[in-house]
């Protein structure tokens, strides 16, 4: 009998070596799959210095952390990540290798899978076993209008990309994961597409939308930075993050990291408040799994109201100051 192979999760890290906001949720998806298939859970960290990331993982129920450190392993160097990922995938041949459906994950998963000759099941939001004992992933398409169950007969390592913000973190535990350190052998020649410069550094220290339980998002109706100031104030009172529609990002009112929707992030906070957002399908795609949706819009026929639990027909410049003040009051009492 073959020994059961572990599930492996690629833990995305940031420039400064910390775990990215989605990493623990993806590890949670791995824990779910491991439990369904009765095998262990490995988490893979690739970076320059993995100390922070390993500390961030060690409180959770993970069997092994596999760490590769190399000066070349910075997030901008995508080509070397692909090389290293395929090396590890070959060496450990996990039953499945899970990636976050983030900007990086969307590049790393298919490129590594292509090298390994494997298929990719993408944008998964749930994982179950069929009555025949096969693993079935649920993915959403057409902006969430259709959910589909996907199975694969592929025998090798299955590549799966997981929608961030859906799965719970793994359980906590007192026992520490086993730490396995792997050597990298990377070389400048491995890098084809070279990062020359970063145009504009995003604001540091702000709560990221993918980490937030509450998001207050602004669109064209916010009109500019004055509107976004009101939005930020409400977000602050709620301990939440600021999100945005494409129009607001394209106009430069807010960083791209706040973009929700088809060309941005998919989020599922407990509370999502929209301010001056029309409710295009491209935007709804990114937020429709939120717990409670509240919308402020001057147009009573705005599509956003169809996908909202609560709403107010009104000008956000009039509504937001009062709403923020009322909520501050409620929170204080």
């Amino acid at each position: 009998m073959n020994e059961k192979k572990n599930v492996m999760v690629f833990a995305e890290t940031m420039e400064d070596g910390r775990l990215s906001g989605s990493a623990l949720g993806i590890a949670g998806a791995g824990a779910r799959l491991a439990a369904l298939t009765g095998c262990g859970l490995d988490v893979l960290v690739l970076g320059r210095d993995n100390g922070e990331a390993i500390r961030g993982l060690s409180a959770y129920k993970i069997d092994r952390i596999i760490s590769v450190e190399d000066p070349f392993l910075t997030p901008g160097n995508i080509d070397v990540y692909v090389k290293e990922l395929s090396k590890i995938s070959e060496k450990f041949s996990p039953s499945a290798l899970l990636f976050p459906m983030t900007l990086y994950g969307r590049e790393l998963a298919p490129r590594t899978a292509a090298l390994m000759g494997a298929p990719v099941i993408s944008d998964c939001v749930a994982c179950d076993t069929t009555p025949e004992g096969k693993i079935k992933w649920t993915r959403l398409s057409f902006g969430g209008y259709i959910s589909a169950g996907v199975e694969s007969d592929y025998e090798g390592t299955r590549f799966v990309s997981i929608r961030p913000g859906i799965f719970e973190k793994p359980e906590k535990t007192d026992g520490e994961p086993e730490l396995i350190r792997e050597e990298a052998d990377l070389d400048k020649a491995d890098l084809k597409s070279v990062l020359m410069r970063t145009i504009k550094k995003a604001a540091q220290g702000m709560l990221a939308v993918e980490d937030a339980d509450v998001i207050v998002a602004g669109g064209r109706g916010a009109g500019g930075s004055a509107g976004f100031k009101l939005i930020r104030e409400l977000a602050d009172v709620l301990g939440g993050a600021v999100g945005a529609s494409r129009v607001a990002v394209d106009k430069g009112w807010i960083d791209h990291s706040a973009l929700i929707g088809q060309s941005g992030k998919t989020v599922a906070p407990a509370l999502y408040i929209t301010c001056g957002i029309a409710g295009s399908i491209q935007h709804i795609t990114g937020m429709r799994n939120s717990g409670c949706v509240v919308s402020i819009n001057t147009d009573p026929r705005a599509l956003i109201f169809d996908v909202s639990d609560y709403g107010i027909v009104g000008d956000l410049f009039q509504v937001l100051p009062v709403l923020t003040e009322e909520i501050r009051h409620i929170k204080a009492s």
Partner: protein
């Protein structure tokens, strides 16, 4: 330089249906070119506007009616078009699609010479997994950049400089030829095509390659993943909407509603 633009015809997202038996997207209804692909075609235009000589070929894999996506591509600046179409390609997953494209690209390159760059839309809005360009790049062993907002030729003419959308601030990559680049939406609306080109496009004959043309007597790759069930999800929620003349009063009402419902 020679650029291949990979496009896809997608169903109208508001009207999409699935076929009950095959569990595949029903591709017979209203359809359109996937909107991200127009930004890939816009990438060609950007290079031309900067004085680069570009011959652009548009290609799509799909059923016969997918030819309309190629007509749209021609209208938006492609010089010629090619349809990859065969019953045997139906139900393709990511890997199968990439393998068919890879093989077809090799055939096209044998015939007319290599492509310096392959442009794609960042995602198709049906499957929407945004992974095809990266998968294809790796199969072809070419350099790759995703989520391009714009591109230009480098001074030495050996690479594209790609402005790439990124959370940590937009980045500039040097991506050496031959390369695969996927384009995302940027703040510019794609240029509306000239009416003459739209008219020419609608009556043009598009050459077709079938499985035999592409694979000869080699085996056609099989899909390794399959949809075995699906459901339509209702996106609507039962909304409680405050619509007071006095908006400040309305805002207070809303706050109370949220508090009473334990949302706060």
């Amino acid at each position: 330089m020679r650029i291949l633009v990979c496009v896809k015809q997608v169903p109208d997202p508001q009207k999409v249906r699935m076929e009950e038996t095959t569990k595949r997207i029903d591709r017979r209804g209203d359809s359109m070119i996937s909107p991200f692909d127009l930004y890939a075609l816009e990438g060609v235009k950007t290079l031309r506007d900067a004085g680069v000589q570009v011959h652009a070929t548009a290609v799509t894999m799909g059923p016969a009616q997918a030819v309309t996506a190629l007509h749209d591509s021609y209208a938006s600046g492609a010089d010629d078009c090619l349809l990859l179409s065969d019953e045997a390609f139906a139900g393709a997953d990511l890997r199968k699609t990439a393998l068919v494209l890879q093989k077809a690209i090799e055939k096209m390159e044998e015939k007319d010479g290599p492509f310096d760059a392959i442009f794609c839309g960042a995602k198709s809005i049906d499957g929407g997994n945004s992974m095809l360009p990266a998968y294809l790049a790796q199969l072809l062993g070419r350099s790759h950049a995703a989520y391009a907002l714009g591109c230009r030729m480098t001074g030495d003419g050996e690479a594209l400089e790609i402005l790439k959308e990124n959370d940590l601030g937009n980045q500039v990559y040097r991506v050496p030829f031959p390369c695969v680049v996927s384009f995302t939406k940027n703040s510019q609306e794609p240029t509306y095509p000239l009416i003459e080109r739209i008219i020419t496009a609608s009556s043009m004959d598009v050459p077709v390659l079938n499985a035999g043309d592409i694979f000869g007597d080699q085996q056609i790759p099989q899909a390794q993943t399959a949809v075995d069930s699906f459901e339509y999800r209702d996106m609507r929620r039962g909304s409680l909407i405050v619509n007071d003349k006095d908006q400040e009063e309305g805002a207070r009402k809303l706050a109370k509603m949220l508090y009473d419902a334990h949302v706060l």
